[in-house]
Symmetry: C2
Subunit: 301 residues, 2 copies
């Protein structure tokens, strides 16, 4: 057995979340009705999701040697996510997001900063990258992600990509991706098709055998070699949508690890993401496996 179920390479951040009674206009002052600090970032939150669900996950990436970086690592470690290969860059300011959550809709506006120095290929431990059953990427740390995806292809390890935005090397990266779960925005920008069904078909090419387009409250469209379907989002009392996509991705990878079929995997991921939205922040609401299964038993799409 490999040491890890999943190796995730990508973005980790500190999220500060302020809930506001209304979204402010420029030059306005508005008082928060709630405030939280949590770890965030697509791949980092996906690895936390996998750990809560019971999988053995390792986060690989870079943080600064500041208090934000310490917080990021502490939060991952507290969830049981391996951080042994995280690079702590001297003199670097860690990734940070301020997230304004609209109390009425649960919609979030994200103001983010990233690192000045990206993760380099020579900072990757090849053996560690290949020590998981699946390699999960988020399109950040592009140079390192590209190298890692190539290694994984050569080693026969499936590569999963959380695609949020189109980057210069996206086309090349996709040539190494087995499972592509994309935001509606990415799908539209990349394929030029605003209809998720048309986009999901376009995205299923080359080695990509599974493609998914997620559209938040409008659910997701999924396609593999056998089936193609849409599932709606589960209806819950939304407090905050921050991280819902990241949790969807983590839970989707969990389904792949279990060899579930595409429909079961997508419904499971949609359930985990919906449960997350009932609490403030990207991580507080991430469910355990029993919680997700109980939720699914109580609902039918």
């Amino acid at each position: 057995m490999k040491p890890f179920d999943v190796i995730g390479i990508g973005y980790a951040a500190v999220d500060y979340l302020g809930v506001v009674p209304h979204y402010p206009e420029l030059d306005e002052k508005v008082r928060m009705v709630d405030f939280a600090r949590q770890g965030g970032g697509p791949v980092a939150t996906a690895t936390v999701t996998l750990a809560r669900l019971g999988a053995r996950a390792s986060y690989v990436g870079k943080v600064g040697d500041d208090d934000f970086g310490e917080y990021i690592l502490r939060q991952l470690q507290a969830e049981g996510v391996d951080t042994s290969r995280v690079i702590v860059e001297r003199g670097e300011q860690s990734r940070f997001s301020f997230i304004i959550v609209d109390k009425n809709t649960g919609k979030r506006t994200i103001i983010w900063k990233t690192l000045d120095s990206p993760l380099r290929v020579d900072e990757l431990d090849r053996e560690h990258v290949l020590s998981g059953g699946i390699l999960h990427l988020d399109g950040h740390e592009q140079e390192a992600a590209l190298a890692a995806a190539r290694w994984a292809n050569d080693a026969g390890i499936p590569v999963s990509l959380d695609a949020g935005s189109v980057h210069p090397n996206t086309e090349e990266l996709l040539s190494y991706v087995d499972v592509l779960v994309a935001s509606h925005k990415f799908a539209q920008d990349f394929t030029g098709k605003s209809d998720p069904v048309a986009a999901v078909r376009d995205m299923a090419r080359g080695r990509t055998r599974v493609s998914v387009v997620t559209s938040g409250e409008d659910g997701c469209v999924c396609k593999d070699g056998k089936v193609e379907f849409h599932i709606p989002a589960f209806q819950v009392d939304v407090v905050d949508t921050t991280g819902a996509g990241d949790v969807f991705h983590g839970a989707f990878v969990y389904g792949m690890l279990q060899d579930w079929d595409l429909r079961r995997t997508a419904e499971f991921a949609a359930a985990a993401a919906a449960i997350k939205c009932t609490k403030l922040g990207g991580r507080a609401g991430i469910p355990t496996l029993p919680e997700t299964l109980a939720f699914l038993r109580g609902r039918s799409i």
Copy 2:
């Protein structure tokens, strides 16, 4: 000689500032082009201004026993502001603001949180409150401010108020105020008059012998028993307006300490506030006395 030139009672916070290329819409993601952390809060930043100008200032107020609270105190102490009477409340989350600075205009949108437990009168050290030449308030910590203002009146110590918003006890508090420097918003809400000249006349009543209405880039209108005039704001390359009002108040109190006439005091305060706006954050740009005087020599309104 009294131990302090000024005792300030009111608001102290941590400010996180993110500069954005454009102000985001709800549900958007936008990347910061600059980020800074600084101490903030009207009275706290006014005491820092006074300290930079060379006055002996003490900040009195409350913080939580968290990392934000430690940061707030460290920043004040580093400026030479006395914090010996600050109350550190157990289990309390300190005041925090996230400030979105629009790169194009320098205008700032503030999302703020305050303390759950206000400063109580029994937490004030009466002798300390009366140990300064002027008592400066900002309308926060209303109960404590009211008691302190009464004590100051009885002791013959002038009371200066930075009035930003109308509160339930504003009317009562104003009956103890000698120098009232109000935002345009306060002046309008309190007097019902949108014209600053009409408002500044209305505000000069009871014991209030000096009244000022500040209108940001439109300058300020000032009135005392002898004169009434408008001065425009100094033109500078604005990076960020955060804290400009707080610095104006601190520098205005400095002018009062020097017994300067109203025009000189207001011009000095306007100069200090303008210089502040050339740097990101409420405090980085606060000038020293030589810097402010040099700026004034180089300009004429």
